[in-house]
Amino acid sequence: MQKKMRIVVVGGSSAIAEHCLRVWLADGPAEMILIGRDRSRLQRVADDLQVRSPQSSVQLVTADFLDPSGIDRTITDAFGAGRVDVVLIAHGSLPDQSECQASLELCRDAIGVNATSPVLFAEACAREMEKRNYGALALIGSVAGDRGRKSNYVYGAAKGLVTRYAEGLQHRLAKTDVKVILIKPGPTETPMTAALSQQKVKLARVEDVAAQIVKGIKAGKSVIYAPPKWWLIMLILRHLPSGIFNRLEI
């Protein structure tokens, strides 16, 4: 019998992560560790996954997402319990740009949860994975991290930091068997973007984004744009001269 895949998800109630897990489970049972902030939200996801795949197991861990020693302990424990095939670092929150401009506290919190926290988790995981010379470490960044723009540059800056971080980590682990994957979803229909859908922004289906992510991780890609069209869109946006870019209402 095939060994069950062991998956650690940070941000276990993130909609993209949850749908990635559904895709993995459709392939066969897995052992999952879901790390999150709110136990009842994690439990809801776990119950659903358990119905979908009764042979799978789900372990829930709650943690403070900004506390380095707590993060260290959580990750050490997760790896201590056995081999880990995939880590998916998926948590984040989309702040309102104008509110960030009005409040430095919100600004700090947005950078904390979208940049500092994923980097701390990834760093702890990288240490464990390098030791074992095994596994795939996937981080969810964003197309918003590719170029700062006025409508969401605080969020974009945080995701840009994740991008630079992942690049460095890929460099560091290039000669090992640990694979580092940076995922850049475009705007996707999730609870995080509920406010965007009210503004009639066209959003990708989370099921499709998750399927592309799982496929990309399996194929060992280092950067995954989901949906793939964002690769081209961001290539163009990144290379637009600022004289033109700064006149765009985006």
């Binding site: 009842s40 939200r41 809801r44 996801v45 119950d47 659903d48 119905v51 979908r52 009764p54 609870p191 509920a194 009210q198």
Partner: protein, 433 residues
């Protein structure tokens, strides 16, 4: 405020849309709001039962998690926004299936309960509500009511088929049934004349779980159609590929269903399928939900939208009434490609406002052609009313109040269970608030 239409596309009025997602925020989203609200699932109701113009729509799409499943008994607990499709696709490979589904699987569990939907197997298995074991209802005053066939049975009877008016359905427990696989033994038999149809229907009732017939509504020279019956097959091989999904990409400027297309289409459909008549083994999705592979098919009726007219007539008056209705429709030159005639089993439904009743049911679409269509409906209403029949509220956007009240004699009893914070376009039209 966003513009929301139901499946028939007859209106696009403003609604305050509230997405229900996080269970911890349900109470603050639903209870004690200044505006009246209504739960909204997939919007597959044809008329105005799922609309609440200028009010709130609580969209349940985000309440789409399974809660528990007992592999021994087949009891499934899920949140209200889970789609019937998701249940079928997850559980059929595991040997379980929903006992009753309507002609599309793109509806939510909550919607299936609130409309007490039925399928082609009504004579064998009743309607959706017959397989619901428990419903969790949140009232807008903050009270949570758990009801089922043996617990708060009066609340259960009001809520099944209750058009969402007794509270917001948050979760439900449904009994699945064992199946060998996704396959059905199927037989299609051409028939001509209503007596032939009733014969086939009565003969098939005992041995075949699913029966339905398509009829050519455009034909003036007597009734002609294709009777289809099916039952679970012993074939168990897994099925490999789903048929491709097509999309109706735009709404054409005029209805594609019109005088020019109606007769040739019906004629061609009859003859093509007559050639294919006989026995076959088919996948349940293809047999039960043929239109699910044509996304947004409702757009083919053009920007003015369409009505669906579905009535049930008690068996004693059934023959004459159906004959008269079909004659009226053929004379009018209106109608649709998909006219469905089916006998219901001799059983009383669970819900106070459930549609199914012993007798025969006819359903078909009509492009919205204004006064002309309304006048045809008036003539059909007279026949239905005379025969002591009723219309299906989930399909309705126009029935007169009197027909609703005479068709649903348990309405006064139902009204005691209404939630005063909930209202719909349909409830204001037919009940008054």
């Amino acid at each position: 405020m966003s513009c929301v239409s139901s499946w028939g596309g007859l209106s696009a009025d403003h609604h305050q849309v509230v997405n229900l997602m996080d269970p911890s925020k349900l109470e603050s989203s639903i209870c004690r709001r200044p505006l009246k609200g209504l739960a909204f699932g997939m919007g597959r109701s044809y008329g105005d039962s799922c609309l609440n113009s200028s009010g709130i729509l609580w969209v349940t799409k985000g309440l789409n998690r399974f809660v528990a499943f007992d592999e021994k008994t087949g009891r499934l607990v899920s949140e209200a926004g889970v789609l019937l499709r998701d249940i079928q696709r997850l559980f059929v490979p595991r040997g379980w299936m929903l006992p009753v589904t309507p002609g599309t699987q793109m509806v939510t569990v909550g919607g299936a309960i609130a409309n007490d939907v039925h399928g082609k197997n009504h004579h064998a298995s009743g309607s959706f509500g017959d397989h619901v074991l428990s419903v969790t209802l949140l009232r807008t005053d903050g009270e949570t009511i758990v009801c089922g066939p043996s617990e708060n049975a009066d609340w259960f009877s009001a809520t099944v088929g209750g058009l969402g008016l007794t509270g917001v359905i948050l979760r439900a427990e449904v009994q699945l049934r064992r199946v060998a696989g996704p396959w059905l033994d199927n037989e299609t038999i051409p028939f001509s004349g209503l007596p032939d149809f009733f014969h086939l229907a009565d003969d098939s009732e005992a041995g075949w779980e699913h029966t339905v017939s398509w009829i050519d509504c455009a034909r003036r020279a007597g009734v002609r159609g294709l009777f289809t019956r099916s039952k679970p097959s012993e074939r168990t091989q897994p099925f490999s590929s789903r048929p491709s999904v097509l999309t109706m990409p735009v709404t054409p400027p005029i209805s594609l269903v019109n005088e020019l297309s109606l007769k040739p289409f019906n004629l061609a459909y009859y003859h093509l399928n007559k050639l294919k008549a006989g026995r076959s083994v088919d996948h349940f999705e293809r047999l039960f939900y043929p239109l699910d592979n044509l996304l947004n098919w409702n757009r083919m009726y053009g920007p003015k939208g369409f009505y669906q007219y579905q009535c049930v007539i008690p068996r004693a008056a059934g023959f004459d009434a159906i004959q008269a209705i079909l004659a009226e429709i053929a004379k009018s030159g209106d109608g649709s490609f998909l006219t469905v005639l089916k006998t219901f089993g001799n059983r009383q439904p669970v819900g106070m406002l459930s549609f199914p009743a012993p007798g025969v049911t006819l359903a078909l679409d009509f492009p919205n052609r204004g006064i002309r269509t309304q006048k045809l409906f008036d003539r059909l209403d007279a026949i239905v009313s005379e025969a002591k029949g009723r219309l299906y509220a989930a399909k309705d956007a126009r029935m007169p109040k009197e027909l609703f009240h005479s068709g649903y004699p348990r309405l006064p009893e139902f009204l005691k269970f209404r939630d005063q914070g909930i209202s719909s376009d349909l409830s204001r039209r037919l009940i008054g608030n």
